[in-house]
């Protein structure tokens, strides 16, 4: 409206030149937009020199002001809606008439094409994802197979992968095949949740190697009834129930352990049957029983549990403490591995085809004409069973010796017994140093020091004074010996004390031939006299009879001596006279040597 006004106003004001007709169609084409612009151009073209130069500017400004006023009016109408309101122009229905069906169809088509594109893309993505997962699964299986191969020996037979878990390559001669099969476990439904312990590779071990096993070596007092054999409870603990979901390395290791235990037991039972010994070994089911010492029973049993449910029968051994000697079980494993190594050692292999298995030196036996003594020194004569029995004997003897010494030490307080066990032992030999001392007088009375070498069947005692005594395995012998040494110690202690106190030793005997006969060892006796010779103490100590202390007084102090006419001189009364026994148990003092010291001190008069 305003534009029309401005146009009319300008048409009125200016003369139309010939140029304006050419500009007409251009002006009309640019009609929708910038109306003022062609007016401005026209204004610039129609410059007339008679008008003042700011005329066009003034006109333009006036036009802009008009525009602004109109804009302001429109905005105020929009805002206030008081006097005027905007009303949409009603559409002419004939102008926008297109059928709705067509619209629908066109929309549907476009949507369909879009959907198809999206679906194609999604399909492609799905396919690639599935391929990735499949590849990953395959890669997992291959990487697991690589790991398996780095630890175990595998070979391909046909389309199966087999492995070897026996010790044959390490030198074993056990005839078990020990092959396991590797199974691919990749047919897992990936849509479902993958279980935690899923592994794409699983192994199938031979059925007789399933479960877990160990060798139980134990020493018990002999069972009186032979029917009790074979009823040993087999397992000390319930294994955790993990049937087939164990990882392959745990399974393979358990199977190999079962195989090794079987080999150990087979070797032991073969030797038990073949080797002749004084008391034959009994092989019953899965147990080998032998008697290392009379009254004692060593049982070696193979405990193999296959992981199935055991019968709930209460075994009688549940309440007994576990007497499983783990050391010997470990030693059995070590011995069989040593045996394996021997068949493969460089001493044996490589060997000429015609020579039998054995030590390399034995091949020289023929050409060098070795006699039987030399041959037997080269050959290993002891089998696994003999070795383990010797070790068991030694362990038992050592523990019994320790127990004997400990019970003696706790029972007897007066001479104290100390045992210093050596840290360095052999499987067949241990040693202990036994010291018998009196409390408070360790520096003075240290003459009884014994070194006990505990062997397989005997105990060798080396005394400080050089005597070597061999004791048998009987517990009583060692106890009696120690008791006799303790009694000798008391008398030795008096001798040492006398030196310190200044008393003189008149006589000393380790084994007196007088008095009541002791059943354990011999009694010892000593006689010491005071520095001035007035008093004498006589001590006799025996392991059974205890100690007897007598004091000899000078004649002048003895009241019951009759006066005699023969002895007229007074000096004879200074000689020592009768003996009087001391009530030793009523004597003050913590131990024997202390009491003796007090007695000596009491009998030494002050100057």
């Amino acid at each position: 409206m305003s534009q029309n006004l401005a146009k009319l106003a300008q048409r009125i004001d200016f003369d139309q030149s010939s140029d304006s007709e050419q500009d007409g169609p251009e002006r009309e084409s640019r009609e929708p937009w910038s109306k003022p612009e062609p007016e401005e151009d026209e204004g610039a073209v129609k410059f007339q020199p008679s008008l003042w130069p700011w005329d066009s500017v003034r006109n333009n400004l006036r036009g802009a002001l008009t525009e602004m006023c109109v804009l302001h009016d429109v905005l105020s109408v929009l805002k206030e809606k008081k006097y005027m309101a905007l009303d949409p122009v009603s559409q002419d229905p004939s102008v926008t008439k297109t059928p709705q069906v067509f619209q629908l169809i066109s929309k549907k088509k476009s949507l369909a094409t879009a959907a198809q594109l999206l679906l194609k893309g999604a399909e492609k993505l799905n396919k690639s994802l599935a391929e990735n997962q499949e590849q990953r699964r395959q890669r997992d299986f291959n990487s697991e197979l690589l790991r398996l191969r780095s630890q175990w020996k595998l070979r391909k037979v046909g389309d199966k992968i087999l492995g070897d878990l026996s010790y044959r390559s390490a030198g074993s001669l056990f005839p078990h095949h020990g092959t396991f099969e590797v199974i691919k476990n990749t047919d897992l439904d990936l849509d479902k949740k993958v279980p935690d312990d899923y592994c794409p590779l699983s192994v199938q071990i031979p059925s007789d190697l399933e479960g877990s096993a160990y060798i139980k070596v134990s020493i018990q007092k002999q069972s009186p009834d032979i029917g009790d054999l074979g009823t040993v409870s087999l397992f000390r603990r319930q294994p955790k129930a993990k049937p087939a979901s164990q990882t392959w390395h745990v399974k393979l290791e358990a199977a190999q352990n079962v195989l090794l235990c079987k080999e150990i037991f087979a070797q032991l039972s073969r030797e038990a049957v073949q080797i002749k010994s004084q008391i034959p070994h009994i092989v019953v089911k899965n147990q080998i029983i032998s008697q290392p010492f009379p009254g004692l029973q060593l049982s070696i049993s193979l405990c193999h549990s296959t992981g199935e449910k055991r019968s709930q029968r209460a075994s009688p051994e549940k309440s007994k403490p576990d007497d499983h000697l783990y050391v010997l079980e470990h030693n059995l494993h070590q011995l069989i591995r040593e045996f394996h190594k021997q068949t493969l050692s460089s001493v044996v292999m490589p060997h000429p085809a015609s020579a039998p298995f054995g030590h390399k030196r034995l091949r020289l036996a023929g050409p060098m004409a070795y006699d039987k003594a030399e041959i037997s020194s080269l050959q290993q004569s002891e089998g696994l069973l003999e070795k383990i029995i010797k070790q068991a004997k030694h362990i038992f003897l050592r523990s019994r010796t320790a127990r004997t010494i400990d019970t003696l030490a706790s029972r007897i307080e007066d001479p104290q017994i100390q045992a210093h066990w050596s840290n360095i032992n052999d499987v067949y030999e241990s040693s202990v140093k036994v010291l018998i001392t009196s409390q408070g007088y360790e520096q003075i009375c240290k003459s009884i020091q014994l070194q006990l070498n505990i062997g397989v069947e005997q105990i060798r005692v080396v005394h400080r004074d050089g005597r070597v005594i061999t004791l048998s395995h009987q517990e009583q012998e060692l106890q009696d010996f120690l008791l006799s040494q303790m009694s000798q110690h008391q008398v030795h202690a008096v001798q040492q004390l006398a030196k310190v106190m200044g008393w003189h030793v008149l006589s000393f005997s380790n084994h007196v031939g007088l008095g009541p006969i002791e059943s354990i060892g011999n009694a010892s006796a000593i006689t010491v006299t005071s520095p001035n010779g007035e008093y004498t103490i006589s001590v006799r100590n025996g392991p059974e009879s205890g100690c007897k202390v007598l004091v000899q007084f000078p004649r002048s102090q003895a009241k019951e001596l009759p006066k005699s006419d023969v002895l007229q001189d007074a000096r004879w009364t200074h000689l020592r006279g009768p003996y009087k026994e001391v009530h030793w148990s009523r004597m003050e003092g913590r131990n024997f040597v202390y009491k003796m010291e007090l007695l000596m001190a009491a009998l030494t008069p002050c100057p």
Partner: protein, 212 residues
């Protein structure tokens, strides 16, 4: 391994081989010797084939001794000897074409073994094709390996139970290059046994005729 002396004890008058052996056993037991098992020594003869005509066939003797159970000794009479592994017998089987086994000539001596301090006395019955032909006595002094040092002691010891049948110093020791003071070898023992077996084989003809 010590100095050995092998000798043959003639069968006593009017007694069989077994009885003479028993007599010797008794004498040794009276002396204080301790029985320590059995022993055996055997000798097989192989004839060399394919040598030039005009020369006597060389005989190879393969002997075994229970003292050296893993060895076989092969020797020619008066010639060189060889100590080998027990597989030597298998080798001889393979050399069948060059050395033929004269099966009828196998001689062996079996008996008991006595130990008297450092002495080992072996009294055996020499048998050829399971018929007793004589008695062999081997005395070994284990403490010494030089014959010259201990021959006198051995002779004295042998006199104590063999009496008049005590042998002289075996020729094997004197015929060595170094003489009596060379250390002994198991080959010396075997040569002595071979000599004894040779004597017994020659005697066989006479003994056979004697029986008739």
């Amino acid at each position: 391994m010590g100095v050995t002396c092998v000798c043959q004890v003639p069968v006593a008058e009017g007694k069989s081989v077994q009885q003479t052996v028993d007599m010797l056993h008794k004498k040794l037991e009276q002396l204080g010797a301790v029985k320590q098992g059995n022993f055996w020594v055997d000798c097989e003869t192989y004839q060399a084939t394919g040598n030039a005509t005009g020369q006597p066939t060389k005989l190879l003797y393969v002997m075994h001794n229970s003292e050296t159970p893993l060895s076989s000794m092969a020797l020619f009479e008066g010639g060189p000897g060889l100590t080998a592994d027990a597989n030597f017998d298998v080798l001889m089987v393979k050399l069948k074409s060059h050395f033929q086994n004269a099966k009828g000539h196998k001689v062996e001596s079996r008996g008991t073994r006595y130990r008297y301090c450092d002495f080992l006395v072996k009294i055996g019955t020499v048998a050829m094709s399971s018929s007793a032909r004589g008695i062999s006595v081997e005395v070994e002094y284990c403490a010494c390996v030089i014959p010259g040092d201990c021959w006198n002691l051995m002779k004295e010891f042998m006199q104590s139970f063999l009496g008049s049948s005590t042998p002289e110093l075996p020729a094997v020791f004197t015929s060595k290059a170094e003489g009596l003071y060379a250390p002994v070898d198991c080959m010396d023992t075997m040569s002595q046994y071979l000599e004894l077996f040779g004597k017994v084989r020659k005697q066989q003809v006479l003994a056979g005729s004697g029986v008739r």
